[in-house]
Symmetry: D2
Subunit: 337 residues, 4 copies
């Protein structure tokens, strides 16, 4: 951390501040006195130092962090890729392309089982499906809730596909026993209480990037989970909010290589929410596979025009089958580049 | 709701769709057949119709809502301003400018009581103070929690100022008995489970706009609370996330008159979070008062450079005193314009 | 400028780089050697040093500018406010609120003269009106061009109001002889060739902030004009592009105090383009006057629904008259605060 | 175009407005009278109708365009892909992946010729290099200008690679005789006078998307060029401005398939400006090739750390060679999918 002081400060003030830093934190402070201003350089573990606190000192001109504010999610302290391994053998982050597919929301036993069997045939390794649905409107369909989770379990029993589904409140956690990967949605990325509680579970957490959150904030939210002891976090880029209205969100494809550089955690891409348009899902899935995503999470519905939510961004099982074949082939080419 | 169909659709398909709409929803459908395309016009209560569901139909070209998707928050159905009245007499939305002031976080009994007394002398009608603090980093100070709430109660007892403080998880609700106005922070604006539960309480809710949420989404979140029976919602504009880095957020000052046009709910402004810079708070407070905000929520700290959070955006009691005098005078002028 | 080097660099490499900096630029370099990394601190005139060039050095970890990259527009080197004074006596930046009003585009002699006389009666000191119109569509009305400028001159002769109008290409400059203040539109804010040429004129330049330009970039564009010798630059905040669609743009009201802190140049606000909605113009004008803008530029049309452009964001002369009275009164109150 | 009228309008007003539309434009108007409001549906060529003009009518509630406002760039009226063919045989848009490479700016004969020969060996088909450089700061290196263009010609003579270089002012056009493809930079995307003049030339124009411009605005700017008779336009996605600061801009990868759906014009991607970071260029180039871009424009410098501009986002000839081999292989796989 580099702290630029305002010109003409009393030496005592500076000394007092330096003492406070070295007393309270595990850091050393080097002082560089220039002709016009003084700069303090902090060495050691600065993650616990609040840069806003430093900036609030009236003799401080500006603060610059050199070290990242996250530790457990940081590749510097954990150079090897984290691989998420389910007891049933499925893996995310091992170099393969994990396909997670299923409907926006679970609607009936027939629907979820039919889709599960279909996406499994096409190569999906995980079944997604919403039981608790975060909807902008209180008047929209909110998911089948507990019943939806039971139907997911039935589909899992039939197909062997592990379940990925979203949690909206920690009070529902007891219902998630048979869920294999718990998803935190974009709107809850900074619901810190939820993150903390999920950090106490021992299930992998799929953490989606918030609509207007930076990559650093996403890593800090992962840190919340990891700081409680659960290091099985999968990050998901699902599009960010920009001024462009042609697509529902703007897929920040650069986030994949950037996160992989900064962190050891696996990164997957959600082309369905990123675009909001079904014909865009395949090209975005291809781009994500090409750039090295560890997986894709895709909305598939046997009858998109009757889907109870997000129909406009769902593809059919037939379309998913074509997509899966293409990204598989592409992945192989990319790995051989 | 206006639905433009793709060209050359079979009449049967259209009829079937129209039947479905009139059967499931309380609407009438008018059909306008053009030479190239057909347009359906829906009249009645379209709030329950999911426009995404409509857009997902393969014969639909595009959908345009004419009616707003919110009802209880809509000024059309409730032309008079909602006024929030506390049992102790304080009001928000009655044409006066409500001043809510206090520290980012409660730090000690002395601190909170001293600030409370000071801001009261300057004309504040409500005391704010964080007990549960949402922080980007798990390693940053997270607030005094239950103890912080107790200290707020002590300050309330001493000064008579009602308490405004943030809730981060519905599990903490029992601790909020002595709290007068419960705040939902920007990061939880779309934590729908929390909103729903707060809708079941009978306390006024201060709902902050999310960092990247539209005005319509803010009103939809208010609708979540109101749909459960709690119509005492105060909306708060606190800056949105843009590309500009000179300020922490960009205060969307237009949101005040826009919300007042669309809704009957009171709207206040938070210049502290909007700017993140203490010398900007006064000019933004003045602009907010001039444009007709129903109140201001401002971070005041007796020693900003030692504040445990957000010091850089706190002003001192002396600065608050000057600010309060100015906005009071300005409010009077504006009301007389 | 503070340059953080990557760890473990050879001393020779560092020395060579430091020599290059001190040889090519008027700076001194102080070196601070930490246990893990080395930091260089540059003192002197760093405006000519390209921070991208520095960042591109493979041994550089990161670069932080301490000094602003603009000089002539910088308040540090020019503490007093710049006041723009026209030969005919009108002033911008002297503490008064300059009202600039007129139609989006000049349409006929009757139209422009009638509006000019009307806005003058209401207190406008300058007449605005578009002759060259930048339109998104090549098929939209592009302005009356040279003829429009002639009509503006006629209105000026009749009313004595100085003319403010936009230039779109430096080739048109000879036509602008009778124009008093030349406007550079948002889309041309970084048309550096145009800025440079206008820097060679001796007319005040009204420089509008680009749709997605930072405040620093706006000041750098002013610097382009000033570096050529023309220091009469008026800056204009006219809304920036964000994800919010309720308003055409998002008025960044904070830009007014921020620019005034950083620069000595006058700052005006354009509530018409910021909102794009006529009923929002008055509240935004009031907020801008309250926060200390040096002026307002407002679209006024005698018949908005027949305006050849931007009718939806024009107000009538009657509405302008009410607005002018209000902002005048408010300005007086604010100056007395 | 669908026009929703406000409730309770006089029939005469509506008739008068309808008459005006049918008289002035080549459209038919269908009226649909609902119980609460009336909707007008316009059929025919609505591109010349200004939707802002319509929205400004006081009896209009809202306007919705059904037809796109661009014609010549519209795939609906020109289903086949446009292929740009240079007299020397190079093509863009024919299904191959065109590689355009070279330094940010031309610095010397040796530099440009060396890089040209090197990128040619690696498979580049076009040489890029800046002679006129748009720089945020007036104090930064502004390019070698006319001399730079001469050096590009020398490199072209040596290697046979056609030249792609940026124009900043139409006054410089005479110097561009030997240039093969004229580039319009992001900052000039809405410099309509420049676009119009380039529309009168017969050289292909490479039009870059502005930092904050929508895809529709990009197509409208292409329309400006095409409306003047020059239909050889190549569009370029180069990243848009968002709140994320980890990358210089956010590459909007979805723009590639979206533009290809809407328009017949070729689309290329600029991963150098999109990321601003050299190690990100290869992954972004791979994603762009995978998603079907018609080409890539990449900054290559033989000595990035001594580049006079944009060094941080340049790759070396050796890195470009590896990148070119990878995207070539990938393109083949993608075409075979």
């Amino acid at each position: 951390m580099i702290i630029v002081l305002k010109p003409n400060q009393r030496q005592e003030t500076i000394n007092e501040f330096v003492n406070k830093l070295t007393t309270n934190y595990d850091v050393q402070v080097n002082t560089w006195v220039g002709t016009q201003s003084t700069v303090l350089g902090l060495i050691g573990d600065t993650t616990a130092i609040d840069s806003e606190y430093v900036a609030a000192q009236e003799f401080v001109e500006s603060v610059k962090r050199v070290q990242e504010p996250y530790k457990k999610a940081n590749r510097k302290f954990h150079p090897d890729n984290t691989v998420i391994s389910l007891p049933t053998g499925q893996k995310i982050g091992d170099g393969s392309l994990a396909l997670i597919a299923g409907p926006c929301s679970v609607e009936s036993e027939d629907q979820i089982c039919e889709i599960a069997e279909s996406v499994k045939r096409s190569g999906a390794m995980f079944l997604r499906g919403g039981a608790f649905k975060p909807r902008t409107s209180p008047y929209a369909f909110q998911g089948m809730k507990a019943e939806g989770l039971e139907l997911l379990s039935k589909a899992k029993k039939k197909t062997g596909l592990p379940i990925v589904t979203e949690i909206m409140s920690i009070e529902h956690l007891p219902l998630f026993e048979d869920v294999d990967i718990i998803q935190v949605g974009a709107r809850n990325m900074q619901n810190f209480e939820l993150l903390r509680q999920l950090g106490k579970t021992r299930k992998p957490i799929l953490l989606k990037r918030g609509l207007a959150n930076t990559i650093e904030e996403l890593l800090m939210s992962a840190e919340y989970i990891m700081a409680e002891g659960n290091e099985q976090v999968i990050l998901c880029e699902r599009g960010i909010r920009t001024y462009e209205t042609m697509t529902r969100n703007t897929l920040d494809i650069s986030a994949v290589p950037v996160i992989k550089k900064l962190s050891h955690l696996p990164v997957i891409v959600d082309p369905s929410h990123a675009s909001g348009i079904n014909w865009l899902i395949e090209p975005l899935a291809i781009a994500a596979a090409a750039i090295g995503a560890d997986g894709l999470i895709i909305e598939v519905h046997n009858d998109p025009s009757h889907a109870l939510c997000d129909g406009a961004q769902s593809i059919t099982p037939v379309q998913f089958d074509a997509l899966a074949a293409k990204v598989k082939k592409l992945s192989e080419t990319v790995r051989a580049l």
